[in-house]
Symmetry: C2
Subunit: 281 residues, 2 copies
């Protein structure tokens, strides 16, 4: 079995690392412009064929995973269709799926190459193959958003992620984008905004007093800004919808505070905290 991974960062590296743990005989072709990712992976035994650019080594792979930032997906797809032989299954791992279906999938469709958009719900606020995590996908959801009905491709995609321990689910690409705008993209934007605000007030003096709540709350604000701006860009419509609506919720709370309507505020918080306490992750 041969798997090619284009973009050997935290996610790409973790896929390679965990494939090797499942079966050391799986051959990993790694493509990354950043030598330090591939050097680290090669030294630690989870990249067999390190390459700076996409070449013929990826041809004949069982699976090719596109794990670069979103802004490289189109040129990567254009490079891949020039070298692939046609029997490969290509998947991406991007956090936005409608844009991928509209802009990336057609490139593979036209070349007659199987492509299934995928989104493993896993990651950390860190970057790079040196931060690859053992068991990152184990028990985690992986969403597939195949827009056309090709059962064989979906079956192959499903098997790949199940090999890594993921629980595979199928969603409509836009349903996916609406959901992850709410539970991931908006929270990231808010976390950035909170740190932004506290840094600006009194030269960030309050940050010396931040505790565990603030730490957990803003952990995701350390995430790669280049990656996140691409996500906001590619999921702009849903992020705009959610940010605008979220501001309205805050404005409602602000009005309650201004009017000293403590009962209204407590009723809201009461309902919310009960629901939150019941959530299981």
């Amino acid at each position: 079995m041969k798997v090619s991974i284009i973009g050997f960062g935290l996610i790409g590296g973790s896929i390679a690392l965990n494939l090797k743990l499942v079966n050391p005989s799986i051959e990993i072709v790694g493509v990354d412009r950043d030598e330090s990712n591939l050097d680290y992976a090669a030294t630690h035994g989870f990249c067999d064929v390190p390459r700076g650019t996409i070449g013929e080594e990826v041809a004949g792979s069982n699976v090719v995973v596109i794990a670069t930032h979103l802004d490289a997906f189109v040129p990567v797809a254009e490079s891949l269709v020039r070298v692939l032989s046609g029997g490969e299954l290509v998947m991406d791992v991007g956090s936005v799926k409608g844009w991928v279906v509209n802009n990336v999938k057609p490139i593979f469709d036209e070349a007659g190459i199987s492509f299934v958009p995928a989104h493993p719900i896993a990651g950390t606020e860190k970057s790079g193959a040196m931060n690859a995590v053992k068991g990152l996908f184990d028990g985690a959801r992986c969403i597939l958003t195949p827009s056309s009905n090709l059962p064989e491709e979906v079956k192959r995609a499903r098997l790949f992620w199940e090999l890594l321990g993921s629980r595979v689910e199928i969603l409509d690409p836009y349903e996916h984008d609406s959901i992850f705008s709410q539970v991931s993209h908006l929270p990231h934007l808010i976390a950035y905004a909170l740190v932004d605000y506290v840094l600006a007030r009194d030269e960030g003096a309050a940050l010396n007093y931040a505790g565990g709540g603030f730490r957990d709350f803003t952990r995701i604000a350390a995430s790669s800004p280049a990656m996140w701006v691409e996500i906001f860009k590619k999921n702009r419509e849903f992020v705009l919808r959610d940010l605008e609506s979220f501001i309205s919720v805050l404005q409602r709370y602000l009005e309650d505070l201004k009017r000293r309507d403590w009962e209204a505020l407590e009723n809201i918080l009461d309902r919310v905290s009960k629901e939150r306490a019941q959530m299981r992750f």
Copy 2:
């Protein structure tokens, strides 16, 4: 040594539990209207004298800790001054200090009883003595906000918290309130608002897909709403300031998204993520 704890919840219970771990011979008087807190603590050996109301048992304590919700502070103080003999050091553990200095401290001052406002920076999203945590204050900050200069009282207060392993700091009460509005009160309000918003959209369907980021981000939204509304009420001026300013930051991001000004957004996020990645907690 005798320590009385008025309000035997998560914080009060954790103080008692950890005092007993330091020195089992410290006598703990526990006062709580909720019998289940005291039953649990008595059964588990961290409450020696359980009482439903404040009575003469608290007189002669070395330290009396007020650990009820903020809305009970004034009646508790009024009850305490009727039974205390004068040699006790009273402290509260409330999350707001300006209000305590203005509304609670005068009651003790008038009665000639030593009072030092304190705020241990510790806690979880849970409530009740049954959720008391071993080592909760160990290595954690404890802020004292003595508004007048009484070195002996402050020395006694400091020793008490150091016994529990805390790092004691002195702050002006309003400086305290400004700081904790930013790093604690505002984040709680935002976490509540985010869960509120996602619950309201599509009947909360997206919550089924929430991952580790959302979990950490909204953990504090499970906190006691009655307690938090009291905090917002008592620290209303600073919370209003911070909520209003935070909404402006989000509106700026919204404008960038609307105008597709990705460069502006990336510049902001770049600066913020670098600062956040350097923070140590």
